[in-house]
């Protein structure tokens, strides 16, 4: 196990892109954890400076339309993106893995039913649905995590299922059955570790998707107003006419953070794929 990890790390380390992604993510995690110590001002407090003041020594990224410090908002905003992104990806991947495992392993009518449900979920346009849900049930941050988690699992289920389908026919599974291993044992002790790579890659790709989706939702004003997030900063900037005021610092850095964090995760995913798929490694 440890040796396996060491070899994986060796391949992972070779890709500059993947290591770069990991560093970006670590920086943002640090920002989120140490936010109260890093932020120079209270992000929610109005008029700590004049409105729309450009970047200066007192306010490194300027202030917004209500005189709030942009840098402090950015630092606290990393919390929302990371929490929503990672938690949701975890929920979606967990659900998807369960559905995929059951569907792939047992097959038959259970597989039929689960896969048709998956198809239905896949045809529903995700973002508009999330907006509608946020509108009906209130844009509280837990609701948003729940919506994204409940509707984000189908792609994961598809991938896990196809992998299980081929694993199910392998000799070692047949041997396990001949030895009298129970279904539960075969699935959790033997099949699950074999799909763990795919699961990991999925957690990462789901996170990228959710970070962008959350920012998008907040940008449309369908987000929790009590927690400052990057998307919401852009929403407020656009509404307060920051573009025509020339106050680019109220929306460019916030969007850049969304893009950077999402990039970080997609580079990380790229690295995981390199480790998982030897054909991509090149000679």
């Amino acid at each position: 196990m440890l040796r396996g990890l060491a070899t994986s790390w060796k391949y992972f380390r070779k890709s500059k892109l993947a290591v770069g992604g990991l560093i970006i993510i670590l920086i943002f995690i640090f920002m989120a954890v140490a936010a109260p110590y890093l932020a120079p001002y209270d992000p929610q407090k109005s008029f700590v400076g004049p409105m729309f003041s450009p970047p200066s020594i007192k306010h490194p990224l300027g202030t917004d339309d209500a005189g709030r410090d942009v840098l402090s908002q950015i630092i606290y905003g990393s919390r929302i993106s990371l929490i929503v992104g990672l938690l949701t990806a975890a929920v979606a991947t967990l659900l998807g893995t369960i559905v995929g495992l059951l569907s792939g392993y047992f097959g038959g009518s259970l597989d039929e039913v689960l896969m048709r449900i998956t198809d239905i979920f896949l045809t529903i346009p995700f973002i508009p649905l999330a907006i509608l849900f946020a509108l009906y049930f209130g844009p509280n941050i837990w609701n948003i995590i729940l919506i994204f988690g409940l509707f984000g699992w189908p792609p994961v289920a598809r991938q896990v299922r196809s992998q299980i389908l081929s694993l199910r026919e392998t000799l070692f599974v047949e041997a396990l059955r001949a030895l009298g291993a129970s279904d539960k044992r075969v699935i959790f002790i033997h099949l699950l570790p074999n799909v763990s790579g795919i699961i990991m890659a999925n957690v990462v790709s789901r996170t990228v998707f959710v970070i962008l989706a959350e920012a998008g939702l907040a940008f449309l004003g369908a987000s929790d107003p009590r927690n400052i997030s990057w998307g919401m900063m852009i929403f407020y900037a656009l509404r307060s006419g920051a573009v025509v005021q020339g106050a680019w610092w109220t929306y460019i850095p916030a969007g850049l953070c969304v893009a950077l964090l999402a990039c970080g995760f997609s580079f990380l995913g790229h690295g995981i794929n390199l480790v998982l798929n030897p054909r991509l490694r090149g000679r």
Binding site: L17, T123, I124, P125, F126, I127, P128, L129, I131, L132, A134, L135, Y136, V208, L212, A215, G216, F219, L220, G221, A222, G231, I234, L238, V243, V244, G246, W248, Y251, I252, G255, L256, V258, A259, A262, C263, F265, S266, F267, H270
Partner: protein, 277 residues
């Protein structure tokens, strides 16, 4: 008195099941409720007024992205491993992580605020009476430039990468070797023999992503205050206009399903091996 009338009017005295079937029946017969914000306007009419604007920018950017992606993807696959190819892959990975609305805001800031060559928003110059049809078309296209560019940037790299990956598979086939051995010119092998065969997954993939692009258009419209269904959706979110928001959800789902259906049809049309019997 009014309360009783309203209860009767909206069928609130019926059971939830009855109300649900009433709702489904209304949706099918084109009665999608009345907008709360633009009262007493009918939601269906409201959406149909706005939909053409969305379709305009989505279709325009789809066509441009398709043509460019086809060309660039083909060349990248042909020169696999070259600098061109590597840069394309890196940009592709990055573009998938860019929020479309942020990209739009950057373009808006540069090309409408600092260098004011394009309008700040809207779909036509308000108050302007167009002298001729050409004037009108020009005005519409002029306003559509920035939204279309934003949408195109979002999809172009993905299109190019899809084309590249299918091309690489096709290039490994024997008939390409035969074509080269016959002494055909490089360009002819590249476009006539290889690219044509890679076209099939590319076209279907593009039709399928059409629905996703409509979602992307929602954000871009908000940035450029472009009066399509995306802007309408945001207005209805902010003013808690439930019937309109629901109607937009239905229309976007319909676009998703229809474009998937067309993708299936093009499959049978382009590939003689998958004919329906």
């Amino acid at each position: 008195m009014l309360k009783a009338q309203l209860i009767e009017r909206f069928g609130l005295n019926k059971t939830v099941t009855e109300q649900f079937f009433l709702y489904i029946g209304n949706i099918l017969s084109g009665y999608w409720g009345v907008s709360w914000r633009y009262f007493p306007k009918d939601v269906f009419t409201l959406i149909m007024e706005r939909l053409p604007w969305t379709l305009l920018i989505v279709i325009l950017s789809r066509v441009i992205s398709f043509a460019l992606g086809y060309l660039v993807g083909t060349i990248a696959a042909w020169k696999r491993g070259s600098k061109f190819d590597i840069v394309l892959q890196a940009l592709g990975l990055t573009s998938m992580s860019l929020p479309a609305f942020w990209l739009g805001l950057i373009l808006l800031t540069i090309f409408a605020f600092y260098i004011p060559i394009f309008p700040l928003g809207g779909a036509i110059t308000s108050g302007l009476v167009h002298k001729s049809l050409w004037d009108f078309v020009y005005d519409v296209l002029y306003h559509a430039v920035l939204p279309v560019i934003t949408l195109t940037i979002v999809t172009f790299f993905i299109d190019a990468l899809v084309m590249r990956n299918t091309m690489i598979e096709v290039l490994g086939e024997d008939f390409i070797l035969t074509a080269e051995a016959k002494g055909l010119k490089e360009r002819i092998v590249m476009f006539r023999h290889a690219a044509r065969n890679a076209l099939l997954p590319f076209v279907t993939g593009i039709m399928m992503s059409f629905g996703l692009l409509v979602t992307g258009a929602v954000f871009v419209e908000v940035v450029f205050s472009y009066p399509g269904i995306g802007l309408l959706l945001m207005e209805s979110v902010l003013s808690r206009d439930f019937p309109t928001a629901q109607g937009i959800m239905i229309i976007i789902t319909l676009i998703f399903i229809i474009s998937n259906f067309i993708a299936d049809l093009t499959y049978t049309l382009l590939d003689p091996r998958v004919r329906l019997r």
